[in-house]
């Protein structure tokens, strides 16, 4: 049985201007111990999808799906109390902005302790203290004893993200959702955090959803990738295949946008022209049509369904040639 199953997930928001559909026709599964990369520009519905998995969407959100289940639990229509058991327990999450994701008024120990108190009420104070120390060691905090009483403003960005990770894995979650965990960090720290997540994933046999707008970050640590655009999955498959021969023009565009260290300075950096379509006025046909270098006449009128090739999926009328 898969750890997480989403079938035809759709997320809408009730707004003053009417209902907008932020995410539609999103289906994927995650097996135990598997790492899935989710890639796409800002505003593509990556974060919203994750928030839906954690039950953290605002009240005006409407989530529907043919199936949405985690660890055998149907997530559609469970109570707030059940959500609270899942959040921070079987499902942990780390965020984009570690410096602001820790509460400035509480010490490191208080904040990690809180998760343990919620999900492991049977632990004694002393046990929790020991557990927090070992967690800090796990996430590579030097001199953890001295850090316990530190406040977030005394920590660097990388250090804060390590604390966030310690909090997220405190109760041995089955799934860790990492929402752009390295975006706000220095490049060197970025690499350390990636390695840490990879290490913990293996040690704890966790599944990981790793969200990023940067394919170069995702490609080393994930087995599968799904590329999202305008709230749809437009391509997914094994990381290796997608990197080597993208089939959707958008994926190719993302790959071409990665700056290469070896490029001479005369080469202009590639960027995809245009913007993600306004969700209030979605195009009738292919969502990417307006920005696509590979479009044909009927792309504008016909919405492409997901094409299933062997363990590759893409949403394009005119996929690129396989290399």
């Amino acid at each position: 049985m898969s750890l997480l199953v989403a079938k035809n997930l759709q997320i809408q928001f009730q707004t003053k201007k009417g209902i907008i559909t932020a995410v539609r026709d999103v289906s994927f599964t995650i097996e135990e111990g598997e790492t899935l990369g989710v890639v796409g520009e800002s505003g593509c519905g990556k974060s919203i999808t994750n928030m839906a998995l954690m039950g953290l969407l605002p009240e005006n959100a409407i989530v529907t799906a043919d199936e949405l289940s985690f660890n055998g639990v149907n997530l559609l229509g469970i109570s707030e109390k059940q959500w609270q058991d899942i959040r921070g327990g079987k499902m942990g999450m780390i965020f984009q902005d570690p410096m602001n994701s820790l509460n400035p008024c509480y010490t490191v120990e208080d904040q990690i302790d809180e998760v343990l108190r919620i999900h492991c009420p049977e632990m004694s104070k002393h046990q929790r203290h020991e557990k927090i120390l070992s967690l800090l060691l796990d996430v590579g905090i030097p001199a953890p004893k001295e850090r316990l009483k530190a406040y977030p403003h005394e920590l660097s960005g990388g250090m804060s993200q390590r604390i966030m990770i310690a909090m997220a894995i405190a109760c041995n979650p089955k799934l860790l959702i990492a929402d752009e965990p390295t975006t706000a960090l220095d490049v060197t720290v970025q690499q350390q955090i990636l390695e840490l997540i990879e290490k913990l994933q293996v040690e704890h046999n966790m599944s990981v959803i790793f969200v990023s707008h940067d394919l170069s970050v995702v490609k080393d640590i994930t087995k599968k990738i799904q590329v999202m655009y305008a709230g749809e999955i437009i391509e997914s498959g094994l990381t290796k295949d997608i990197i080597e021969s993208p089939q959707h023009p958008y994926t190719k565009g993302l790959l071409d946008s990665i700056p290469s260290f070896h490029e001479s300075k005369d080469d202009e950096l590639f960027s995809i022209p245009g913007l993600v379509p306004d969700l209030h006025a979605r195009p009738q046909g292919c969502q990417f049509e307006g920005r696509c270098f590979h479009r044909k006449d009927d792309c504008q009128s016909k919405w492409p369904l997901l094409e299933k090739a062997t363990d590759r999926v893409y949403r394009c009328h005119y996929p690129l040639e396989k290399k």
Binding site: E80, I86, G88, G89, N100, S101, C105, E114, M164
Partner: protein, 342 residues
């Protein structure tokens, strides 16, 4: 932690000296710039025999050059002697400390009233933003903020004292009781063993009933400010990433709001409460006049009318010191609330 707190205290006390010197200068010269003459006011216009007038002026030391007067005043003040009231002939210090507890008692009650209602109302309004209760609370606070205290105090008296007859009209205690002054705070003095033995709890309840209307009148504007400040502060904090983190931990909604959001929202609220407290003490005059409350506000205004120089100078200096001390207390509380400045 301890040594840094002591250092903080020392720094604050050193800062206090130039402030107090500035205030003494200001109050001393300003009051002398206002037209009117204490001696003339005391003697009355018809009795102004020039000889008596000069005699009196000399005995009060008002014949000397102003700068010399200030020098003498400061020399005595440093030794703790703030002079005697021209009108009552009693030492200014005694007069002040006989009245200040009444003002402080009322001010503290008004502040507690504002905080106990304003904070929950503000948090509720923020959590239920744009709902009907939010509109009612915020509309109400706007009305409360805009209401003149004078008018509001009279309305309260008409409704609760005159029409319903539940609260007394004025004063601090019913004339039926005799409570000896120990601390000057009626709520405390009325619980002294002697009073309890003689008259039981009745004086205490009488003191509470006398406090109700002045507290509401004085606390309404702070209540409105605290409620609005709390609402906007909580709203801002609810959008912070760490609130998202708290939810992602599996924390319950109430804990997310109170433990995570409110704890952070408290930082600006404490600052505002400190400022309000200062203005409540200095602005006590209106409420004290309406309710015949024997505090420093009434006393000071009477002295200004009489051009009672020593009382005005001393009174302003004492009030300023009290406000500074309150702000100092707020600073200490603030450093506990905000770990970043510890």
């Amino acid at each position: 932690m301890r040594s840094s707190a002591l250092k903080f205290l020392k720094e604050k006390l050193i800062q206090l000296i130039p402030t107090l010197v500035g205030i003494s200068l200001f109050s001393f010269f300003i009051i002398r710039m206002i037209p009117g003459d204490p001696v003339m006011l005391m003697l009355g216009e018809r009795g102004s025999d020039p000889k008596v007038y000069q005699e009196m002026t000399r005995s009060l030391g008002l014949d000397k050059p102003v700068l010399e007067q200030y020098g003498i005043y400061m020399k005595n003040a440093v030794q703790g002697d703030f002079g005697r009231s021209i009108v009552s002939k009693r030492p200014v210090t005694d007069e002040f400390f006989a009245r200040f507890p009444a003002t402080l008692e009322l001010g503290v009650c008004a502040m507690i009233f504002a905080i106990l209602i304003g904070i929950p109302a503000g948090v509720y309004a923020a959590v239920h933003r744009n709902s009907i209760p939010d509109y009612i609370l915020m509309g109400g606070s706007l009305v409360g903020y805009s209401m003149p205290i004078f008018w509001w105090g009279l309305i309260l008296i008409i409704i609760f004292s005159v029409n319903l007859g539940i609260t007394p009209v004025s004063g601090r205690l019913s004339v039926m009781f005799d409570v000896p002054t120990i601390t000057g705070f009626m709520l405390i003095d009325s619980l002294s063993p002697q009073v309890l033995a003689d008259e039981g709890l009745a004086p205490f309840f009488s003191a509470i009933r006398h406090l109700i209307l002045p507290t509401i009148a004085m606390g309404t504007i702070p209540l409105a400010v605290v409620a609005r400040m709390t609402r906007s502060s909580v709203l801002e904090v609810l959008r912070a990433p760490y609130v998202q983190t708290a939810k992602a931990k599996g924390q319950s909604f109430n804990k997310v709001v109170w433990k995570h959001a409110f704890r952070n929202a408290l930082i600006p609220i404490v600052t505002v409460i400190g400022l309000l407290f200062g203005s409540i003490i200095t602005g006590a005059i209106l409420t004290e006049t309406i309710f015949s409350w024997p505090g420093i506000g009434k006393w000071l205004v009477a002295s200004i009318h009489a051009r009672d120089y020593p009382v005005i100078q001393g009174g302003i200096l004492f009030i300023a010191s009290m406000v500074i001390m309150i702000n100092f207390l707020v600073d200490i509380i603030y450093s506990y609330v905000n770990p970043k400045i510890r």
